[in-house]
C-alpha cells in the first residue's frame, strides 16, 4: 500500500473513532443526565462518570492502539 493510500485509510479510521466518541459521550451523558434528581456516584454526577470519564478512558485505550499500533511508520519515501 502506498503512503498516500495508507494515510487515507488512517484518516478514515480517525473519523470513525470520532463518530463513535460523539455517539457514546453525548448520547450517554444526555440520556443519564435527563433523569431527575441526578444521581451521585461518589460525589460526581452519574452522567459524568458513565458518559464522560468512562468513555474518556475507553477512547484513550483506542487512542493508544491507534497511535502506537495502527498508524504505520517507516520512511516517508516508501512505496
Amino acid at each position: 500500500m502506498t503512503p498516500y493510500r495508507r494515510e487515507r485509510l488512517e484518516a478514515l479510521v480517525a473519523v470513525a473513532i470520532w463518530v463513535a466518541a460523539v455517539l457514546t459521550t453525548v448520547g450517554i451523558s444526555i440520556w443519564l443526565g435527563s433523569a431527575r434528581p441526578v444521581e451521585s456516584v461518589g460525589g460526581v454526577p452519574s452522567w459524568v462518570v458513565f458518559g464522560i470519564f468512562a468513555p474518556w478512558l475507553a477512547f484513550f485505550a483506542v487512542h493508544v492502539w491507534y497511535t502506537l499500533f495502527f498508524m504505520a511508520d517507516g520512511d516517508s519515501d516508501e512505496k
Partner: protein, 488 residues
C-alpha cells in the same frame, strides 16, 4: 482577591529565567541548514517529547486556564460535557492531518501552510491570500492573549495593566525573534510541563481543602441543582451546543495553521506517532483537572470579584503561598506559549509567504535573518498597540480567529492532501465559502446558528461543498503537479 506576594514574584522570575535560558540553548543548538527551515520549522528535527508538548502548549491558551475554569465555576459539571470533544482531539488531529501533512512537507519542502497550499495548486494567489488571513486573524488572537496575560499579572503581581502588556510583548518578542521555532518549541515544552504540574498540584490541594467530592456535591446542590446537570444553569448547554463543541474541539484544532506548523517540523513518522500518544495522555490528565478546579472553586469561593478570577482565586484559597507562585505560573505559561507560536506563524506568513516567495531575486541569509527578526518584533509591537487600546470589534475577531481560521482552512487543506481532483478553483471556493459562511452566520445569529448548532458546523459543510463543486466544475491539475503528493 489578594496577591500571593513575594512567592509569586520569585516563581515568576524563576520561570522567566528558565524560559530565556531555554531560548538561548535552542539558538546554540540551531542546525547549519537553510535559515528559513531552521527558523520556521526547527530544521524538521522535533522529536516526540518536544513535538507533543509544543503542540499541546500551543493549543492550550489563556482561555484554557482562565476562561474554562470560570465557565465551570458558573455552570458546574455541564462544562465537562462542553469540553468532552477533547477526548478525540489527539486522534483526529494527528490521524486526519498530522501524519499526512508531515509526509507531504518532507517531500515538497513546504515550511508553512500557505507554502504547502501555494505549491500544491501552483498558485501564488492562494499562498498570499492564506498568508494574509493568517496574519490578520492571528494578530487579533494575540491581542486577546496579551490582555489575558496583563490581567493575570495585574491581579497577582500588582503590575499595572499597561506595563503587563509591554512586559508580555517584550518577553515573547525577544525569545521568539532570537531563537525562532526551536526556541518556541523548547520553551513550549517547559511551559507545558509547568501547566500540567501546576494544575495537578492545584487540584490536589483544592480537593483536600474542600474534603473530597462528597462535600462538592452537597455544596453545589445547596446553591443550585442545575449545577449538577448536563444542561447547566439557564440551559447553558443544550444538546445542539454540546454536539457542536464535539465538532469544534477536534476539527478546529486540526485546522489551526499554528498547529499544522508543528506537523511540518517533526523529525519522522515514529516521532509523530509517539507525540500523538503523549498528547492523548496529557489531555486526559489536564482538562478534567482544569474543570474540576473551577467546580471546586464554586464551593470554596462562591463569590468572585470578576468572572475570570475563578482559577487564581481558587488556587490562592487552597494552596500554600510557597506553592501558589509555582501553580500560578501555569496560566502564564499557557498564555506565553500560545503567544509565541502565533507570533512565529504570523512572522513566517509575512517574511516567507508574502515577501520571500514573491521576490524574484534570492534572499541572502543575513538579510533573511534581519528581516525575520524585524518582522517578529514589528508584529509583537502591533499586537501591543492594539492591546493598549483594544478596538470595539476585537472580541468578534477573536471568536472568529478561534474557529473561523479552521472553518476557512480545514476543508481546503484536507482535500488538498487527500483528493487528487482538488484544484485551485476548489481551494479558493472552499476558503471563501468557509470564511464568508462563518462570518455571516456569526454576525446574524451569534454562536447559535440554524437548528441551534454553532456556525462552525455549517461552515465546514459549506466549505467542503464549495471546494468539491469548484474543483469538479474546472479542469484537472496536470499529473506532474500531483505526482509529489499522490505518487504516479
Amino acid at each position: 482577591m489578594t496577591s500571593a506576594g513575594p512567592a509569586v514574584w520569585i516563581s515568576f522570575v524563576g520561570y522567566l529565567i528558565v524560559t530565556f535560558g531555554l531560548a538561548w540553548a535552542a539558538r546554540r543548538k540551531a542546525s547549519a541548514g537553510p535559515f528559513f527551515e531552521e527558523f520556521f520549522v526547527g530544521g524538521r528535527q522535533l522529536g516526540p517529547w518536544v513535538l507533543g508538548l509544543t503542540w499541546i502548549a500551543t493549543s492550550a491558551s489563556g482561555g484554557s486556564f482562565i476562561g474554562t475554569p470560570s465557565l465551570a465555576h458558573a455552570n458546574g459539571w455541564s462544562v465537562m460535557l462542553w469540553i468532552s470533544g477533547y477526548i478525540v482531539v489527539a486522534t483526529v488531529g494527528f490521524g486526519l492531518l498530522g501524519k499526512r501533512i508531515a509526509d507531504v512537507g518532507r517531500r515538497t519542502g513546504a515550511l508553512t501552510l500557505p507554502d504547502l497550499l501555494r505549491d500544491r495548486f501552483a498558485s501564488p494567489a492562494i499562498g498570499a491570500l492564506s498568508a494574509l488571513a493568517i496574519v490578520v486573524l492571528h494578530v487579533s488572537y494575540m491581542v486577546a492573549q496579551y490582555i489575558a496575560g496583563a490581567r493575570v499579572m495585574e491581579v497577582l503581581l500588582g503590575v499595572p495593566y499597561e506595563w503587563g502588556i509591554v512586559g508580555f510583548a517584550l518577553t515573547v518578542g525577544i525569545y521568539t525573534s532570537y531563537g525562532g521555532f526551536r526556541a518556541v518549541a523548547w520553551t513550549d515544552a517547559f511551559q507545558a510541563i509547568v501547566m500540567l504540574f501546576g494544575v495537578l498540584i492545584a487540584l490536589g490541594f483544592a480537593l483536600d481543602k474542600v474534603g473530597g467530592f462528597g462535600p462538592v456535591w452537597e455544596g453545589l446542590a445547596a446553591q443550585s441543582a442545575d449545577l449538577l446537570t448536563p444542561e447547566g444553569p439557564e440551559a447553558f448547554l443544550p444538546w445542539q451546543t454540546a454536539l457542536s463543541f464535539f465538532v469544534i474541539w477536534p476539527f478546529a484544532n486540526a485546522g489551526q495553521p499554528a498547529l499544522i506548523a508543528r506537523f511540518l517540523a517533526c523529525r519522522d513518522r515514529r516521532s509523530l506517532k509517539r507525540a500523538a500518544f503523549l498528547i492523548g495522555l496529557y489531555i486526559l490528565l489536564l482538562y478534567p483537572a482544569v474543570i474540576m478546579i473551577g467546580i471546586i472553586g464554586r464551593v470554596l469561593v462562591p463569590e468572585l470579584e470578576a468572572a475570570d478570577h475563578a482559577m487564581p482565586a481558587t488556587i490562592l484559597a487552597c494552596t500554600p503561598p510557597v506553592l501558589a507562585g509555582l501553580v500560578l505560573a501555569a496560566p502564564m505559561a499557557a498564555i506565553m506559549s500560545t503567544l509565541s507560536s502565533f507570533l512565529l506563524v504570523s512572522s513566517s506568513a509575512v517574511v516567507r509567504d508574502l515577501y520571500q516567495r514573491n521576490r524574484s531575486a534570492p534572499l541572502n541569509e543575513n538579510s533573511a535573518r534581519a528581516l525575520t527578526q524585524l518582522s517578529t518584533f514589528a508584529i509583537a509591537a502591533i499586537g501591543l498597540l492594539f492591546a493598549l487600546d483594544p478596538p470595539q470589534f476585537l472580541q468578534y475577531i477573536v471568536v472568529f480567529s478561534g474557529t473561523g481560521l479552521a472553518a476557512t482552512f480545514l476543508c481546503p487543506t484536507l482535500l488538498a492532501v487527500y483528493w487528487p481532483r482538488m484544484n485551485k478553483v476548489g481551494c479558493l471556493a472552499g476558503m471563501l465559502g468557509g470564511f464568508c459562511s462563518f462570518g455571516l452566520q456569526y454576525a446574524a445569529f451569534g454562536t447559535q446558528s440554524f437548528g441551534g448548532f454553532d456556525p462552525f458546523v455549517w461552515s465546514l459543510g459549506v466549505s467542503g461543498i464549495g471546494a468539491a463543486a469548484g474543483s469538479l466544475m474546472s479542469s484537472k491539475d496536470p499529473a506532474a503537479l500531483l505526482e509529489p503528493y499522490f505518487g504516479s
